[in-house]
C-alpha cells in the first residue's frame, strides 16, 4: 500500500493528503485524550474504562475457564488460587463469568445510548427549531413517557416485548429519549435566535442543512456531555433489568443476573454477588469520572475560544 510511505515529503496527491488529514486527526485525538488524562480523576476514569473495554474485546478468550461450564465438584467454593473469585452454586468460575460478562452490559448500554441520542436529538431539533404545534405534540408525548420512573417504563416495555437483547436496547432507548430531547430542545431554542442561523436561513439553506451544519456543531459540547451522562444511567438501568430477570437471560454471564442468582446464597457465598457488583460499580464510576472531566475540558475550551 502507498499509505505506508505517504508521510514522506516527496509524496503528493490524494492518497498523501488523506493520510496527512488522518494523521492530523489522530494526533488531535491523542492530544485530547492526554488532556482528559491530565488530572487524577480523568486518568483513573480513562484507565478503568480502558480495562472494561479490553474485557469486552478479550474477556471471553482470556477467561481461565469456560464461563458457562458446570463443575459440580467445586460448587460454592471460596476464593482460592485455582478460583480467584470463588465458584457459584453450579461450580462455575466467578472470575471467568465476570470477565465474559462485560460484553453484554457494555455493548447493550452503548447501543441503547446511541439510539436514545439519535432519537432525542432528532425530536429535540423538531421541537426546538420548528416550534409551534410540533413542539407541543413532541414535548407532551415526552411528558407522558417521563411520567413513569425510568425503571418502571423499561419493565413495562420489556414485559410487553419479552426479554431479548434487542428489546432491552429498545426499552432503554425509549426511557432516555425524552430526557435527551429536553436537553437538546433547550440548546436549540437558544441557538435558533443567533445571527449565524438567521444568516443561513436568509441564504436560503434548507432546514436539514441548518440543523447539520449550523446548530449541531454548536451544540456538540452539550451533546457529548449528555451522551456520557446517559451512558452511565443506561449501564445502571440495564444492570437493574438484568438483576430483575428482564434483561440478558441465563446461562449467558451477565453482572446483574449474577448478583440476582447469588442473592439466595449470600450467607454461604458472598463472593458470588460481591465481584459482579464491584464490576458494575467500577464501570459506572469510570464513565462518570470521564464525563465530569470531559465537561471540564470542553468548558475550558469554550471559554478560551469565547475570550
Amino acid at each position: 500500500m502507498t499509505q505506508g510511505v505517504s508521510l514522506a515529503p516527496a509524496q503528493h496527491g490524494r492518497v498523501g493528503q488523506a493520510a496527512a488529514v488522518r494523521a492530523h486527526a489522530l494526533a488531535a485525538a491523542i492530544r485530547f485524550l492526554l488532556r482528559i488524562a491530565s488530572t487524577p480523576t480523568g486518568a483513573i476514569g480513562l484507565g478503568l474504562l480502558t480495562l472494561h473495554l479490553l474485557l469486552v474485546l478479550l474477556g471471553p478468550s482470556l477467561a481461565p475457564y469456560e464461563p458457562t461450564a458446570l463443575n459440580l465438584r467445586h460448587t460454592l467454593e471460596a476464593p482460592s488460587a485455582a478460583f480467584p473469585m470463588g465458584t457459584d452454586n453450579s461450580g462455575r468460575d466467578v472470575l471467568s463469568r465476570v470477565m465474559a460478562g462485560a460484553r453484554s452490559i457494555v455493548l447493550l448500554s452503548i447501543a441503547s445510548t446511541a439510539l436514545a441520542m439519535v432519537l432525542g436529538i432528532l425530536l429535540g431539533l423538531v421541537a426546538g427549531y420548528l416550534g409551534g404545534w410540533k413542539d407541543e405534540v413532541v414535548m407532551r408525548g415526552m411528558d407522558v413517557l417521563m411520567s413513569f420512573p425510568a425503571l418502571l417504563l423499561a419493565m413495562l416495555v420489556l414485559t410487553m416485548l419479552g426479554p431479548a437483547n434487542a428489546n432491552v436496547i429498545l426499552a432503554t432507548a425509549l426511557v432516555f429519549t425524552p430526557r435527551v430531547a429536553r436537553v437538546v430542545r433547550s440548546v436549540v431554542l437558544e441557538l435558533r435566535t443567533r445571527e449565524f442561523v438567521d444568516a443561513a436561513r436568509l441564504r436560503g439553506e434548507s432546514t436539514v442543512f441548518i440543523w447539520l451544519r449550523e446548530i449541531l456543531p454548536n451544540a456538540s459540547a452539550v451533546i457529548l456531555v449528555e451522551t456520557g451522562i446517559r451512558l452511565s444511567y443506561a449501564i445502571l438501568l440495564i444492570a437493574s433489568l438484568g438483576f430483575l430477570g428482564l434483561g440478558v437471560q441465563p446461562p449467558t454471564p451477565d453482572w446483574g443476573l449474577m448478583v440476582s442468582e447469588g442473592r439466595q446464597y449470600i450467607y454461604q457465598a458472598w463472593w458470588m454477588v460481591f465481584f459482579p457488583s464491584i464490576a458494575i460499580g467500577s464501570l459506572v464510576i469510570a464513565v462518570s469520572l470521564l464525563t465530569d472531566r470531559l465537561e471540564q475540558v470542553l468548558n475550558a475550551q469554550r471559554s478560551f475560544e469565547g475570550s
Binding site: P149, T159, A239, S240, L244, L246, I266, F274
Partner: protein
C-alpha cells in the same frame, strides 16, 4: 402564580390520563390468556368462554378500557388474579387491587420516610462540610464517597450492605419480612437495611447539590459583608448562607421522592420488603394484569406529582423565574 399553577395541574391531569392509556395498551397486549390463567390448563372451552364473557374480555379493547378507566375514577381497580384461590368447583375472588395498594403503599411510605429521615440530615451536613472545607482532603473524601454511591445501582448497594451487616457482622436480617401481609411497624429493625440503601443513593445527589449551592452562597457579597462586620463564621454559615443554599437542595429532595418510587422497585425486591415496588415485580412475574395496571398507575401518579412539586418549589423559591 395561580394561572401558572392551574396550567401545570391541567397538564398533569392530561398527562396522567394518557399514562393510563399507555398502561392499558401495554397490559392488554401481554401474551397469555387471563381466563386460562384463572381456571388452569384443564378448563373446558365452554368454561373459559363463560368466564371471558363474565369478565368482559370478549368486548372490544376500547370498551374494556372505558370500563377499566371508569372503575379507576371511582376507586375500583378490579380484583387481583393471583391472590385468590381456585377449587374444583368454584373460584374465590382475588383480593381487591385497591386494598392491596393501600396496604402496600403504607409500607412503602414508611420505608421512604425512613430513608428521607436518615438521608436528608446527613447529606445536608456532608454538603455543608465539603463546601466550608473546600479543596481540602475532607472535600475530596466526600466527593469520592458520593461518587461511589451514585455509581452503584440500588441493588448493588443493597447486596453490599447485606454482605457487611448480615453475612459478615450478623447484625441485621438479609430479608426484611417473612409474612408478606404483616405490618412492618411491628419490627422496625427490618427497615434499617432497605432504608439505608435508599438513603445512601439519595444522599449522594443531595450532598453534591448542597455543596455546589453552598459554595455559590459563600462567595456572595452578603456573606462577605456579614463576615467583615464581625459576625462569627459559624453564624454566617448556618444562619445566612445555608438558608439560601437550601433552595436548590429542597428541589433535589422533592425530586428524590420521585426517584424513590423507581428505587423502591429494586430495593424492595432485594430485601423482599412488602411494598409497592415488590408488588410491581410480583405482578409482572405472575402476569397479574389488573394488579399491574393499578400499581403502575399509582406509581406513575406519585412520581409525576412529586416532580411537579419539585418544579413548583423551585419556581416559588426562586423569584428570578417567570411564571409562564
Amino acid at each position: 402564580m395561580l394561572r401558572f399553577l392551574m396550567r401545570r395541574l391541567a397538564l398533569l391531569v392530561i398527562t396522567l390520563w394518557l399514562t393510563s392509556v399507555c398502561i392499558f395498551a401495554v397490559t392488554a397486549v401481554l401474551p397469555g390468556d387471563v381466563a386460562t390463567m384463572i381456571l388452569g390448563q384443564s378448563a373446558t372451552p365452554q368454561d373459559l368462554a363463560t368466564l371471558r364473557r363474565q369478565m368482559g374480555l370478549d368486548q372490544p379493547l376500547l370498551v374494556q378500557y372505558l370500563r377499566w378507566f371508569g372503575g379507576v375514577l371511582q376507586g375500583d381497580l378490579g380484583h387481583s388474579l393471583r391472590t385468590g384461590g381456585c377449587g374444583v368447583q368454584f373460584c374465590t375472588e382475588g383480593v381487591r387491587v385497591s386494598t392491596l395498594l393501600v396496604q402496600r403503599s403504607t409500607n412503602s411510605a414508611l420505608l421512604a420516610a425512613a430513608a428521607l429521615l436518615i438521608g436528608v440530615p446527613i447529606s445536608v451536613g456532608l454538603g455543608v462540610l465539603a463546601a466550608v472545607r473546600r479543596d481540602t482532603w475532607i472535600d475530596r473524601l466526600v466527593a469520592v464517597f458520593t461518587l461511589a454511591w451514585i455509581s452503584m445501582p440500588e441493588f448493588v448497594t443493597g447486596v453490599l450492605l447485606i454482605i457487611v451487616f448480615s453475612t459478615w457482622l450478623r447484625l441485621l436480617p438479609a430479608l426484611s419480612i417473612a409474612n408478606p401481609n404483616a405490618s412492618v411497624l411491628d419490627s422496625l429493625h427490618l427497615l434499617i437495611l432497605p432504608a439505608l440503601t435508599l438513603a445512601l443513593v439519595m444522599l449522594a445527589h443531595t450532598a453534591r447539590m448542597t455543596r455546589a449551592s453552598m459554595i455559590e452562597e459563600l462567595r456572595s457579597n452578603y456573606v462577605r459583608t456579614a463576615l467583615l462586620k464581625g459576625l462569627p463564621r459559624r453564624t454566617v454559615i448556618f444562619k445566612h448562607a445555608l438558608r439560601n443554599a437550601l433552595v436548590p437542595t429542597a428541589t433535589v429532595i422533592a425530586m428524590n421522592i420521585g426517584w424513590l418510587m423507581g428505587g423502591l422497585i429494586v430495593v424492595e425486591t432485594v430485601f423482599a420488603y412488602p411494598g409497592l415496588g415488590q408488588l410491581v415485580t410480583f405482578a409482572i412475574s405472575s402476569r397479574d394484569v389488573p394488579l399491574l395496571q393499578g400499581v403502575a398507575l399509582l406509581i406513575a401518579a406519585v412520581y409525576s406529582l412529586s416532580n411537579l412539586a419539585a418544579d413548583l418549589i423551585y419556581t416559588y423559591l426562586n423569584p428570578k423565574i417567570r411564571y409562564v
